[in-house]
Symmetry: C2
C-alpha cells in the first residue's frame, strides 16, 4: 500500500511508493525513453492490461458488440498496471512521531484514446476526441460515488520529456482522498476574488481576454483558448468554457463537440508552431463534493515542455518565462490549421 | 526590463522576459545541451563576463594581489550576462486591466566556484568549498543594503537535466523584490507550528530525526543531513544546522568549516550512489528584512534529477515519489566516502 505523507512545514502531501521502492540503479539515465516493441494498448493485447473498467465499442452495422477485453473498442479505460494509489482499504490517518501519514487510497486509471498505435490525440477525428472527453466524464461520474475520493485529476503526458513511458496515446485519471495543493490554491484564490468582486475570476478573464485579444489563441462558440497573463511556462495555454461552469462532469452535453474542436485546434497549432512538442495537459475542475459553485470555473491547462525547471524555480515556486504570453498567443493564433469546420480567429 | 506579472487566481508572480523574447525556433530540442569549447569562466577569459563584483584573490607568498578581471582568483562573482531581473529602476507596481504587474527589479549574479574547468564542487578541497560558502555570505551581506530587495535565493544547477547551460561549476544568486511563494509557505507553516508548539519545527525535526536515525544521511558537530519525511523527489536531501539559526548570513563563522564538510560529504555520496546525477541545490534562509526570528531555520535542499515531473505533479502540486526516504537515506548513509576528517555515520 502506498503511503501519503505530509511535510510538517508547508503541509504538502506526497505519495510515497512503498511497495516497489526504486533503488538507485533503477533510475537509468534514459529511464523515460519510450519503449518500442510490444504495446499493451494495441488491439489483440487486451489481456496484457488489468481487466477493462469500461470501453466504447460501436456496434458494426447493428451486429453484435465485441465482448470485454477483446478488440473492437474505440476508447478503452483500464486500471493503471502500476498504480500510484491503491483502491482497497481506508485512509487510517495517523501520527508518525511528529509527522502525519495515511494510507495511499485512490484510483489510478488509463484512458486509451484510440486503438491506433501511431496516432496522436490531435490527429484523431473530432468525433473521436469527443469520445475521449465523454470517457473522462463517465469515469468521473462513476468514481464520485465513492465517498473516500475528494478530487479527480485527469491529465495527459505526451512525449518522453513530459514523463510519458508508453508511446500509444493515452490519458490518465487519479482519484485522490484529499484536495491537492494547487487545486486548493486555485479554489481559495477564486473564492477570495468572488468575495471581493462578487464575480468569478475566470469569467472576468474570459471577458477581458476576449475584448483585448492579444492573448487569444482561438475561439469557438463555447470555448476561449488563451495564453494566460502570468504563465509559468513558455507557450502555456488554457482552454476556458465561455459560460460559467464549475465542474467539467456537470457541463452541458452540448459543449463536448466544441471542446473537442478547441482541444484539436490547440494541439494541432502547437504541433505546427513548436514542432510536435512533448506536453502535459491537465483538467482542473471543482472538488467532487462541491461540484456546483459560483467562484470556480473548470478549464484545461496545456504546458509544452520547452525548458527545464531548474534550481530557482524549485527553490522559490517563482517561474522565469522567456516568452511573453502575447508573443506565444500570436504564434499559435497565426498558425493556420484547418479542421472540419473553420475556427474563428482574430 | 523584464516584467513581474501576478496570476490573478493563485497570486503567483512570474518573471516574463520581455527583452529577448524566445520565439518557437529558439527552443531547439537540445537547448540545454551544455556547450563545449570556449568557457567564459576560465582563467584568461575574465573580459568575457561582465566586470566582476568581487573575487577572492590569495596573495602569492605575500606578493601583490592580481588586479580585478584578471586570473589569480579562487572564487569569482560576476553579474549574470543574461539576467532574469534588471538591477536599475523602481518597481512601479501597476494594474494591467484586471491584472497586476511591476518592473522586474533584482540582481542576478554568478558565483564561479573555482578556476578549474573540469572540477565539480564536491571535488574541491574542503577549504575551497568553504570559500564558496563565504562568498554566498558576502554577497548577501552586500545586497541586503539595497532596501528594494526582500529575499535572496542562492541556488546551483548541476548538469544538463538540472538546467545548467555551462559546464564550468558555478552557483547563482537572485535577489528578489518580493518574497517568493515557496518561501512564504515555509515561513507561514513554520510560524503556525511555532504559535501552536512554541518550538521551531526545524529544531524538532533535527531532534527527532537524530534520535530515530532511519532518515539520517550524515552528521557532524554542526549539521544534520537527512532525507526529509515527505520528500517531493527520490533522494531529496536536506542539510540542517543543528542549532537554531534563522538566517544563513548571520550564522556563526565557526560553522562554515562544518558546512563545507557536510556539503562535500552529501554531494560525494550522491555521486557514488546515483552515478554523478544532475542536481539542483537551493539555500533557504529568512527574508532580508526579518533575519532573526524564532520560527524559521535556514537549510540547504538537494534535489537530484532522477525522474521527470509530469502532468499529475504540474496539475496538483502533489508529488509521487518512488523511493521512500528511509531507503534513500540508507543508500546514502552507507556509501563510504572518506573526507579529510571522518564523518560520524550511524
Amino acid at each position: 500500500m502506498p503511503e501519503l505523507r505530509k511535510d510538517p512545514i508547508v503541509g504538502r502531501w506526497v505519495i510515497i511508493s512503498t511497495d516497489r521502492a526504486k533503488r538507485p540503479t533503477d533510475f537509468a539515465r534514459e529511464k523515460n525513453q519510450i519503449k518500442g516493441g510490444f504495446c499493451p494498448f494495441c488491439y489483440g493485447n487486451e489481456a496484457k492490461t488489468p481487466p477493462e473498467i469500461m470501453a466504447y465499442r460501436p456496434s458494426n452495422n447493428g451486429g453484435p458488440v465485441a465482448p470485454r477485453d477483446t478488440p473492437g473498442w474505440t476508447v478503452r479505460v483500464v486500471p493503471n498496471k502500476f498504480p500510484a494509489l491503491g483502491i482497497e482499504g481506508s485512509l487510517n490517518r495517523q501520527a508518525d512521531g511528529m509527522f502525519d501519514k495515511m494510507n495511499g487510497i485512490g484510483a489510478h486509471e488509463v484512458i486509451i484514446e484510440t486503438p491506433d498505435h501511431t496516432a496522436s490525440l490531435e490527429q484523431l477525428p473530432e468525433k473521436r476526441i469527443e469520445d475521449v472527453l465523454w470517457a473522462f466524464r463517465d469515469r468521473i461520474i462513476d468514481l464520485r460515488k465513492d465517498r473516500r475520493f475528494k478530487y479527480i485529476l485527469i491529465f495527459k503526458n505526451h512525449g518522453e520529456a513530459a514523463g510519458a513511458s508508453l508511446e500509444h496515446t493515452h490519458s490518465q485519471l487519479i482519484a485522490l482522498p484529499i484536495l491537492p495543493k494547487y487545486v486548493v490554491e486555485e479554489l481559495e484564490g477564486a473564492k477570495q476574488y468572488f468575495i471581493y468582486k462578487e464575480r468569478c475570476v475566470f469569467c472576468d478573464i474570459v471577458r477581458q481576454e476576449s475584448e483585448v485579444g492579444t492573448r487569444v489563441v482561438a475561439e469557438n462558440p463555447d470555448f476561449l483558448t488563451i495564453a494566460p497573463y502570468a504563465p509559468r511556462f513558455p507557450f502555456e495555454t488554457w482552454v476556458l468554457p465561455k459560460r460559467h461552469e464549475s465542474s467539467f462532469e456537470n457541463s452541458s452535453s452540448a459543449m463536448f463537440e466544441n471542446l473537442a474542436k478547441a482541444v484539436k485546434t490547440l494541439l494541432t497549432k502547437a504541433d505546427l508552431v513548436l514542432d510536435n512538442p512533448a506536453y502535459n495537459l491537465v483538467l482542473h475542475t471543482s472538488p467532487l463534493q462541491d461540484p456546483q459553485n459560483d467562484h470556480y470555473h473548470w478549464h484545461i491547462e496545456f504546458m509544452p515542455k520547452l525548458t527545464k525547471t531548474a534550481g530557482f524555480e524549485w527553490g522559490t515556486g517563482f517561474y522565469i518565462n522567456p516568452t511573453p504570453p502575447e508573443e506565444a498567443a500570436r504564434f499559435l493564433r497565426e498558425a493556420n490549421v484547418s479542421l472540419t469546420q473553420p475556427i474563428a480567429l482574430r
